[in-house]
Structures are given as C-alpha cells and as structure tokens.
C-alpha cells in the first residue's frame, strides 16, 4: 500500500442512461505501466476522466500519494502532477510547439526592468532537454499544423512533462498511429517509466499491453473484471475477459460463388486540400453477392476512397465504372438514382439532419420524388407511412416515433435509422464505412447480420472498417490500404487475421 501512488476506492459514475463505472476500486504503484483494458464503452475513459478531474464521481474516494483528494478540474489534477494525453489532442494549430507547451504557465523575463515578456528562449531550452531525456524528437519551433499526428502526440507528452507530471494517462494513444509510430511511442512510454513516471495506458489492443504493461485491469460494461500481472495471463484470456463471453470466430454465411461485376474502380488518385496524396492509384472491383472490405489503420485513405465512390469527393484522376457506365463525373443524386447506397463514417454530421425528425431522415434520399413529393409539394403522410414501416422493421427506438428529433436519439438508433434508410433504397451497391463503430454488442451483431443478408440477396457490398474482427467475419475479399495505396488483395479463405495485421502495418508489400 505504501508505494501505491493512485488509489481509486469504490468509484461509481452514472450518466442519465447508463452506469459508466460501477463500484470500481484500483490501486496503481509508483513507476509501473498500468493498462486499462476494455471494449468501447466499457468505462475506461470515464474512469480516467474522473481521475483527471473532468467528471466528478457520484460515489467513491480518490487517494493520491496516500492522501484523500477531491479533483474537480484538470487544473487541480495538474497540481497533483497528473497529466493526460487525450484521444483528441488539445493543441493550438497555428502556434509553435514551444508556445503550445508553455500555454498557461508561460515563463517570463523582464525587459529593461520594465516590460515582462514571455521567455521563449528559456522555455525552448527546457523543452529540448526534456525531449532528449525521454527520446521525444520534436522541433520546438515547428508550427503544430505542419506536424504529423505522431509528432503532435509527442508535443502532448512534452506538455505533461513540462508541467512536471508524474502520473501520465494515455487515452487510446495508438489508435491514430502507424505501426512504426506505435513502436516508437511504446518505447517512449517505457523510457518514461524508467525515468520514474507512473503510466496509465487506456487501450483495447492486447498486443500493446503484452509489449509494455506491467499490470492490467480489465473492465467490462462498467464493472471491474479483475487486475492481472501481464506476464501471467495470455492474450486469449484477456480477450475473453474483456468481451465478457467466449469469443467465437464462426462465420455464418455461405461460400462466395462469384457474380457479375458491379463496381470497377480504376487508378483513382486523390489529393486533399493541403495537396497531400491521400488516395494513390487505387484499382479494384466489387461483384454481385460479394462483400469486399477495405482494412487499414485509421487515416490511410479508406474513408476518402469511399467518399470518392459515393460522389462526395472528386478524384484528381482515375475513373469509376458502375454497372458498365462511367460515373466519375456524376452528381451524388445521380449515383443515388443509379442505386448506390452509402452509409458514411460520420453519421451525425453527414448521414443525418439532426434537427429534423425521424420520418424526414428515413426518407432523406428519396424525399424529392413520388410518393413523398409531387409537383414540388411534400406529402408528410407518406413520410410518416414510410417512417413507421422502417421503425417497426428495423426496431429503431425513439421517444416519439416518427416525430422524434433525431438529435435526441442514441448513437446506436441513429445508426440503425441510416442503415434502415439505405437498405430500403434497394440499391445494387452498398458502401458501408465503419457501420458498427461505437455501438454495443447487440447492435453490432444485428447490423453485421443485415450486411450478410444483403450479400445473400445478391447485392454488392463494399465495407470499410477499422475492426479487423469485423472484416474477418464478413468479407469475401479483403483489400488492405496503407498510406493511400493498396497493400494487398486477398481472398478471405486464403488469409489469416495475423497476415492482414501485418499488411495493415505496411510491413509486407505484395508484388
């Protein structure tokens, strides 16, 4: 108990709909790497937000270095030498690394004994020293907006170190990194521990825990399952504890037999606003009754590729052939009418009009034609009819049925609404981007079954997902994208999850 730097004692945190943390007690030793493992929504981030002063717990006590404390703001957490690297970095993009690091605790010098001025020089020296001590390579004068994600993360780490943080919380730090970057981050984390810091690592990736963590606590649906020495538990055991049931790899679908080609993507290249090539000469095809999935770490051009096919982005070069016709220059609506359905990544900002009611959103792609609209006049009763039908068919839960404002619905039901709408279009090609992100286990299963049903009924499906498991479960053909390029194309039957994992990390390039 003496060397426990953090003790959480029976912490409970409730939100209006759920209990995010249910009576959780943990103690973390000084100088260890302590992993918090759990699925999305298991309550890891909430628990650490409680420790960092972002949320106040409804019940329970917190002890830091043996003393009971009340942490009500990040500022107080910081005073207790607790630092946190959030999933979304909190950096000022048009300022330099140094300016970002010193923000809020700027050192000053007097000029002419009169004017006080920020001591940029002194700060820069200190940052350089910290960088060198912990192997965090960053140019203190670079502007944040010019830096890649991994360097921004190092800035966030330096920010904590500059504030003399001793307890460092990392919230899913590897989600946005490439494999090489993950390696170097993990070695930074180790060197931080060797420098005497205490690390809390929030993650759902088992291999990372195996690599660096000393102990891990597993959370499942808000409850603490147990705390284990990493050396004494296998990844398989961790996985089943995390999910809460024995994980099965069984796929419930028939063998893919091949069908006529629906979509041909030829040499698509796309530059983004900053003139960076995000999709690089990509070609592939999708056939009737086939699920083609694109695997890859986030930010490797998959989402942009889907946007290009759906017409949301215009490619810099290349063509898209759909059912034999070139649709590269067609509008979004023309593609919809040609029977392409698209479930976008951002369901709240793209897929739905949050301030409209459910019935309108369930007809968002067909509102302009009969029977919803005749001669320019909308027909609300048709919207309602369609809405009620889909609500029933897809079990979309909402407080006021058709007239519920979509903003007030839960994420899972919003996603169900989008999927119901798109499937009801009776399209020939379905593009799903991360259809199950952030949903609970039941909803995920439901959506995956619907995707398979589409395939069984002879539709062509393009699935983009970050979840390797989902890809392995659903696909007939797997394409791996890395740095905007196709790294590998494999038949599902001829490949293992491990192999795909290697391709995703850019390790092996298929000739």
């Amino acid at each position: 108990m003496a060397d426990d730097i953090v003790v959480l004692d029976h912490i409970t945190k409730r939100f209006p709909r759920i209990v995010a943390n249910d009576d959780i007690s943990l103690s973390i030793k000084k100088g260890e790497i302590y992993a918090l493992l759990g699925e999305n929504g298991a309550g890891k981030s909430t628990l650490m937000s409680v420790l960092f002063g972002l949320y106040e717990p409804d019940e329970g006590r917190i002890f830091i270095r043996g003393k009971e404390v009340k942490i009500t703001s990040p500022r107080e957490a910081s005073a207790l030498n607790i630092g946190m690297v959030h999933q979304h970095f909190k950096l000022v993009s048009d300022q330099s690394v140094t300016e970002n690091i010193i923000l809020g605790i700027e050192p000053t010098v007097k000029k002419l004994g009169l004017f006080s001025k920020i001591d940029i020089k002194g700060a820069r020296e200190r940052i350089k020293k910290l960088s060198a001590d912990f192997g965090l390579d960053v140019d203190p004068d670079a502007k944040i907006e010019d830096l890649p994600v991994s360097a921004r993360q190092r800035v966030e780490i330096l920010k904590m170190l500059y504030r003399d943080a001793e307890i460092l919380i990392f919230d899913e730090p590897t989600a946005v990194l490439t494999p090489q970057e993950i390696e170097s981050l993990l070695s930074v984390i180790k060197s931080l521990r060797d420098g005497g810091k205490t690390i809390v690592l929030i993650t759902h990736k088992l291999d990372e825990i195996k690599k660096v963590a000393d102990r891990c606590a597993i959370l499942c649906r808000g409850k603490l399952v147990g705390v284990y020495d990493v050396d004494s538990i296998s990844t398989q055991e961790m996985a089943s504890l995390m999910v809460g049931y024995e994980y099965s790899d069984e796929v419930n679908k028939e063998e893919y037999t091949g069908g006529e080609s629906i979509l041909e993507v030829n040499n698509i290249t796309l530059y983004n606003q900053d003139k960076v090539k995000v999709v690089d000469n990509v070609s592939f095809s999708v056939h009737k009754g086939e699920i083609v999935s694109i695997a890859g770490v986030a930010g490797n051009g998959q989402v942009e590729l889907a946007d290009v096919i759906a017409g949301m982005l215009t490619p810099s070069s290349g063509t898209i052939i759909y059912k034999g016709n070139d649709i590269t220059d067609k509008t979004i609506r023309e593609r919809t009418e040609a029977k392409i359905a698209y479930i976008p990544e951002d369901r709240q900002d793209v897929g739905l009009l949050l301030d409209y009611d459910l019935s309108v959103n369930l007809a968002l792609k067909s509102y302009y034609h009969e029977p919803y609209c005749s001669k320019g006049i909308l027909n609300p009763s048709e919207f309602r009819k369609n809405g009620e039908m889909l609500i029933k068919q897809y079990d979309i839960r909402s407080s006021e049925g058709c007239s519920t404002i979509v903003r007030s619905m839960s994420g899972g039901n919003q996603q169900k609404a989008i999927i119901a709408r798109e499937i009801s279009l009776d399209a020939d090609l379905y593009i799903f981007v991360q259809p199950t992100r952030g949903l609970d286990v039941g909803a995920i299963k439901n959506i995956q079954e619907r995707i398979i049903a589409l395939r069984e009924s002879g539709k062509a499906v393009l699935l983009i997902s970050l979840e390797l498991e989902e890809i392995m479960n659903l696909s007939d053909t797997i394409i791996v994208m890395y740095n905007g390029r196709i790294q590998a194309v494999k038949k599902r039957s001829e490949v293992t999850a491990n192999e795909i994992g290697y391709y995703m990390m850019g390790a092996k390039h298929e000739a």
């Binding site: 509008t331 979004i332 309108v360 968002l364």
Partner: protein, 381 residues
Amino acid sequence: MKHKGYKKAIVRILGPGKAQYLRISLFCIFISLVAGSVLLLLLGKNPLEGYVSILQGAGFIPKARYAGHKSIFTDFMSLVNYTTPMIFASLSFAVAMRCGIFNINISGMMLFSGFIASITVGYSSIPAPFAQILVVLIAVVAGAFSGALIGWLKHRFNANEVVISIMFNYIVSYVISFFIQTMFINPTTRQSERVGDNAMLTGVDTMIGDLRMDVSYVFPLAIIAVILIGFMFSKTRIGFELKAVGMNHSASRYAGIRIGRSVIFSMALSGVLAGLAGVSYYLGTFASIQPRVVPSLGFDAIAVALLGNNNPLGCLLASFLVMTISNGTTYMSSRLGVLREIASLITGILLLFSACGGAFKALADKYKEELDNEIDGGESK
C-alpha cells in the same frame, strides 16, 4: 435546492414544449417593455400613459381628439403603410438566414431597386396601374440580380458574405448618391426629385369617405408574400432543401442537394423581397431618396426577423410590433414631452433582448434537464 422554485418557474414559462419560441419572444417583449418603463420613469414620466399614447399614435386606441379628416383608422393605415417595407425586409432576412446566410445587404438592395425603379418608371409618364406594376417587376428583377450576385460570390469564391454585403451597401450608397447629386437632385429638399404619383405604391392623402389617409397598395402583396414563404418552408421541396442546407452542408450534400444552387436561389429570393421592401419604401412610404444614406430599416429588419424567429408569420407580427413602437412614439413624445429619439431607443432595447432569446431558451432547457436529472437521480438511489 434554494433556487428550485425559481428554476421550475423558468422552465414552466420558457421551457421546452408547445410554442416555446413564441413564449420566448413574448418574454423578450415583456422585459423590453419593463426596461422601457424604467426609462420613462427615469425621465419622470408615467410609463402606462406612455404606452397608451404609443398605441393611440399607432391607431390601436382612439385619441382624445382628431384633426379634420383624421380618425383612428387613418392612424392605423399610416402604420400599415410604414410597416409594409419592414415586412418585406424582415422576410428577406429570414429567407436567407434559414439557408444559413447572413444577408446584411438588405439596405443596399433596397436602395438599388428603389433607385432603379425611380429613374426608370418613377420619373416617366407611364399611366398609373402600368407604372405601378412595372415598379414592382423592376424591384423583383433588380433584387433578384443583386441577391444572386452575392450568393454566387459566396459560393464561387468562398467570400465572406457579411463583409461583401457591407461593402456593397457602401458602394451602392455612394454611387447612387453620385447619380442623384449630378442628375436627379431637388435643390430645395437636397434629396432626389419626388417620383410621380403614377408610379407610387402608396396612395398619399387618398380620400376614403370623409377621411384622408395614406393607403399602401402593396400591403396585400406583403401578406401574400408571408403566406407564400410560409408555404414554401413548411410544404415544398425547395423550402425543405433550403432549410436542410441552412442546417448542415455536408448532410445536405449527402442527401443529393446541390448546395450552390440552394445558396444562390435563397439569396435571389431574399433579394426579390429586399427589392420589394425598397420600392415600397422609396416609392411608397417615401417618394424620394436621400443621398449617402443607407436605410437603417434594412438593419432593423435583421433584428425584427430574429424577434420573429425567422418565421414568416413571426416576421409579420414582429414588424407590426416594432413599427407600432416607432410610429406611436411620435405621438407619445408630443403628449409626454419626451424626445422623439426615444422611439429608436425602445426599439433598440427590444432588439437587444430578442438577441438574447437563444440564451433564454438554452437556460430554460438546461434547467429542465437539471430538474429531470434530479428526479432520475432520486429514483435510482
């Protein structure tokens, strides 16, 4: 716990539920009237007497006595005449705002169409009904043109419509001032020459029975505009698309709506309404243009539309309210012996509070949530 009663009261009055926006607008009006009363009290006047005389001046309550050929009806018709341009102008703002665009160029558009109509038809000898119809048509075309131009610039160049609009206001104002001063000036009034009665959209000093009054011929058009715009937003496809674009560009694009077309269309429509406001102002309420002056009505309309929650019917009512204050105050100032400038001051205060409407809503919604949570929390324990 102490504040629970007060929170409950706020939720009851302003909280979510039926006609929340209407209740909030009424609340804004109410506290503005309270603030106005304080102002009048500070000046040593009786607020009640003040408000009664405002209503008398605006033609809602009979005055003690009337001059020859005047009655409560003439006062009310005068109010209608002054309100007509405001209805058009506030609709103009609302149409653009619903599509997510700030049209601060209403003043400039009014001036532009008023000027074009004046010099083409206003100074001509085209006989009456044709001249008036032409004036309206010119307003529609000139307004649509200037609106579409700004919409296009915004869409094509991603130019900040607020700054562009403001610049256009000044350019239009100075250029028109130049033409008026070199070609159309009336040396005694220092304004442009009066337009002919044949082109006027207001019948000045029309005799109806024994009464002499100003009759706005385009007021019915304003009512029709309110109905049509209301219909467009609630029932039609194009109205739905404009609102969708105003809410969220990416989702609208995803639904297949063409953003550029919607933006340009809504600005053109906003321009048409601003054009109608312009002609009913410069060839109706007034008959000449003052050089170098941008009509402040174009700016007031922004806040009027806000008070009316960008809803056509709301715009109509808010226009009447604001113009009642500004028209009726002339009478109040003579009755109570306060300065006439108090009219715009009371209007300003009203607009100030209506700008806070969103805050009142947020506050009430927050309290509601807090109270609900307390109930939930209580149950779960």
